[in-house]
């Protein structure tokens, strides 16, 4: 459907205006100007911040430069989450642009993974795709692909080529019509209040009675608190790609259209802003 294709395209081209500022504590030769960038929601921080690094290195001595990392309001940002998830989770209802602090020192080893090169990101990305396919098709589709097909997926993401990526990703989204969906929906539910990084369980797209499960069904099962009780103030927002889909949205459709390129449906549950 043309509308579905538009949704896919909108999801792919989702951008977040971001302002990178150098940390105050960094030693610089002269004052560093802030750097503005539109970050793709579906990509990874370390993959799209080469320009940022280059910008700030101009004002720094080479000996003071260690591995670059990012922080937002005191929270180190995990590069291995998609950018959109980081934004929705930490900065949903703040004023744009999103202000990120850039660090070149004191890497927080306990909070973040090191990212020495793009191949680490590629490995992480491919493993996510494989994990998702294991849930969806018992890994059959991804195992049938050749190495160059895997490469095409990664290159599509790296070079921001929508058509290149979806030409291959289409196969990962297929399912036998008689079953009405994937075996299990690959999803992750993120929240800020918990120590657990995210919730991930097995959940079928179709109920045993044969009716399609909705986003509400999933939340009822995984995160009952996210659903407002009758006549009560809404306490939590359920955000995917910066929007709040209705709870009656079928889960299978969401998985097919609102999943990130790593094939997971990343759902953020955040407290409703009080003001």
């Amino acid at each position: 459907m043309a509308d579905d294709k538009d949704v896919l395209r909108d999801v792919w081209y989702g951008r977040i205006p971001t302002c990178f500022t150098l940390n105050q504590d960094e030693v610089t030769e002269r004052e560093a100007e802030p750097y503005y960038l539109l970050l793709p929601r579906v990509s990874y921080l370390t993959l799209v911040t080469d320009k940022v690094k280059k910008h700030f290195l101009k004002v720094m001595k080479a000996e003071d430069v260690e591995e670059m990392w990012f922080e937002y309001e005191g929270t180190p940002l995990k590069w291995h989450y998609p950018i959109g998830v980081l934004f929705d989770l930490h900065a949903s209802n703040t004023i744009l642009p999103w202000s990120i602090t850039v660090h070149f020192k004191n890497f927080p080893d306990r909070d973040l993974l090191h990212c020495p090169s793009n191949s680490v990101i590629e490995a992480h990305f491919m493993s996510s795709i494989k994990e998702a396919d294991a849930l969806k098709h018992k890994s059959q589709v991804v195992n049938d692909m050749q190495k160059k097909d895997h490469k095409q997926l990664w290159m599509g993401l790296q070079n921001d080529k929508f058509d290149q990526f979806w030409a291959m990703n289409r196969k990962l989204m297929e399912y036998p019509t008689e079953e009405g969906g994937f075996r299990y929906i690959p999803f992750r539910i993120y929240q800020t209040m918990s120590d657990r990084p995210f919730i991930q369980k097995l959940f079928r797209p179709v109920s045993p009675e044969g009716s399609a499960h909705t986003l509400g069904d999933l939340l009822k099962e995984m995160y009952p608190a996210a659903i407002p009780n009758e006549g009560e103030q809404k306490r939590y927002q359920v955000v995917i790609h910066g929007i709040e889909p209705l709870l009656e949205t079928p889960l299978q459709w969401l998985s097919e259209h609102l999943s990130h390129p790593d094939n997971f449906l990343h759902i953020c549950v955040i407290p409703t802003p009080t003001d």
Partner: protein, 578 residues
């Protein structure tokens, strides 16, 4: 479109409007500004070093050129990246091809190795083939030699066969001529005798008894060698019935005929011919003795009545003198390698013939315990052996043949195939009579050796006996019945003798006719001797309680005085009427 989808599309548009569209231009412009300022800074720093009076226009053109160069560099960099990716892909392909090449080379090497192995095997097999070929040639040569030998041997065998056939033909011709001469002479003789007989008158005085029979009986006269007692007894027993006188006349006839025979020297030899006028019915056992080591199969009196022979499973033939009602062991004849089935004296009483389980028949002279001849040729046990004249012997065998033997050549000259097991046979004047297991008695012409008559019997024939006048034939069958047939009458008329308790004990049980033809005797499985009266046709007497096992044979002395019975438990009993 569903509500939720419409909602999503709307929210996405809203999001993009807020987050993307609003900031897009701003950020792009900011970036450009940032670039410009940094460039200006660079220029400023360079212009401070070279304070020449470059116009701002040249600077701007330089900036523009710089921008263009950067753009080109960016594009080139992008192309470089793309090309590098292509190189990577190509390298991948190249690597795969290299690995495939290596694999193929490995396989080629493997194939070479296999080919080497196969060539080795080919050489080996060729070598083996060569060896085999050599062997084969050698064998072929040997075979050629052997075939040559075979041909030569065949030729030699053919020559030998021809020689033999020639000799046989000569012998047959000789024999035919002799036989013809013999029979012609006999006929001439007979003719002469008949003429004599018709010419002379014979007066028969029916009322006279003893003196007449004494004077007319040539047998009595000839019995000079028999004992006085036997002589007187014979005299006493001579009765007045006409058939006996006729017999005595016939005996006279026989003697004369033999006396005038001119065929050969042997035939001229005189031998005693006993004629019994009246047999006496035995009532008592004179002597009971264990004659052999094992069961006794056969017993026979010689024609002179003072000698008896027994043959047993212990392979021996024993000769017994019969004097004064006692059996005295005279000598033992050995030579058979198996049990003896039948014994027979020759007409002169000087030789004895025995049939044996060892598939042969043996001939002894009475004064020599070593067999003079052994007649071999039968393929199974010989059941009967009889003299048929002085120089001819007939044997019957379980191999379903009857053989005729020439004693002078010690060879079989005739084999008669019969359909059935031959259990006993009898030689009459010109015929051979044989008894068989197929319940038939066959009469053969002695010259032509062809079956001239078949007489039926009730069961397996175990023995045959013929009366002294060659008219009556007695047969004993397994159906416990003795059968007497008149041979002259050629009728199916026959007498049967049965008795309660009489049971034929074996397949070779031998029954006899008394020498005067008035009685028949046989031993039973119950150990008793049964004697029937021929003229009355019923049981005359039964002699029980002496034998403890089945009686195998009985014999009646030609003088009529004695009966001997032998059994399977090596006992012999002499019976008489004394």
């Amino acid at each position: 479109m569903e509500t939720w989808k419409r909602d999503i599309v709307r929210q996405l548009k809203h999001r993009d409007r807020n987050q993307h569209a609003m900031f897009q231009d701003l950020i792009r412009l900011y970036s450009r500004l940032l670039e410009k300022t940094s460039l200006t800074k660079g220029l400023l720093s360079s212009s401070s070093r070279h304070p020449s009076s470059d116009s701002s226009r040249s600077i701007s053109s330089l900036v523009h050129q710089n921008n263009q160069l950067k753009k080109t560099t960016g594009e080139l960099a992008y192309q470089v990246v793309e090309l590098q990716q292509q190189i990577k892909i190509k390298e991948c392909v190249l690597e795969q091809q290299h690995s495939r090449l290596a694999e193929q080379q490995q396989r080629v090497a493997g194939a070479f190795g296999a080919r080497q192995v196969l060539q080795d095997r080919v050489e080996q097999v060729q070598e083996e083939n060569g060896v085999l070929k050599m062997k084969y040639d050698l064998l072929l040569e040997q075979q050629k030699g052997a075939e040559q030998n075979l041909r030569e041997e065949n030729v030699r065998g053919g020559h030998l066969l021809e020689d033999m056939i020639h000799l046989k033909q000569q012998a047959a011709a000789r024999m035919n001529s002799r036989n013809e001469r013999k029979s012609r002479a006999r006929e001439a003789n007979l003719q002469k005798q008949l003429q004599n007989a018709t010419g002379s008158k014979v007066t028969v005085d029916s009322s006279s008894s003893a003196p007449t029979s004494r004077s007319t009986s040539p047998k009595a006269a000839n019995h000079s060698n028999s004992s006085d007692r036997g002589h007187t007894r014979l005299f006493r027993s001579a009765s007045v019935t006409s058939p006996r006188i006729l017999t005595s006349i016939k005996g006279l006839f026989d003697r004369k005929r033999r006396g005038h025979s001119v065929c050969s020297v042997d035939e001229d030899r005189m031998f005693p011919v006993g004629i019994c006028l009246s047999a006496r019915l035995p009532v008592r056992a004179l002597q009971v003795l264990d004659a052999h080591e094992q069961g006794i199969n056969t017993v026979k009196f010689s024609s002179s009545s003072d000698l008896m022979a027994t043959g047993g499973t212990d392979r021996l033939i024993k000769l017994w003198d019969v004097r004064a009602g006692l059996l005295t062991h005279r000598s033992t004849l050995d030579g058979s390698t198996e049990g003896v089935t039948c014994v027979d004296f020759d007409p002169t009483g000087l030789r004895i013939l025995a049939a044996s389980y060892d598939k042969s028949a043996l001939l002894w002279r009475l004064d020599d315990s070593v067999p003079k001849l052994t007649l071999t040729g039968h393929s199974r046990k010989v059941t009967a052996a009889r003299f048929s004249g002085l120089h001819q012997v007939v044997t019957g065998s379980a191999d379903r043949t009857i053989r005729l033997w020439d004693l002078q050549r010690a060879a079989c000259f005739q084999v008669v195939e019969v359909a059935s097991y031959c259990s006993d046979l009898i030689c009459s004047e010109n015929s051979i009579i044989s008894g068989h297991f197929d319940s038939k008695i066959r009469v053969w012409d002695a010259r032509a050796v062809s079956c001239v008559q078949e007489l039926p019997a009730q069961g397996k024939v175990t023995s045959l006996d013929i009366s002294a006048d060659h008219r009556q034939l007695l047969s004993c069958c397994r159906d416990d019945c003795l059968q007497l047939v008149d041979l002259r009458r050629r009728s199916q008329e026959r007498m049967c003798f049965r008795a309660d308790g009489f049971k034929c004990g074996s397949d070779s049980t031998k029954a006899v006719i008394s020498p005067d033809g008035c009685f028949v005797a046989a031993g039973s499985a119950d150990g008793a001797v049964y004697i029937w009266n021929v003229s009355k046709g019923d049981l005359e007497t039964r002699l029980p309680d002496k034998h403890s096992s089945s009686i195998s044979a009985v014999s009646w002395s030609l003088s009529g005085e004695y009966v001997v019975s032998v059994d399977k438990s090596r006992r012999a009993i002499l019976w008489s009427d004394i």
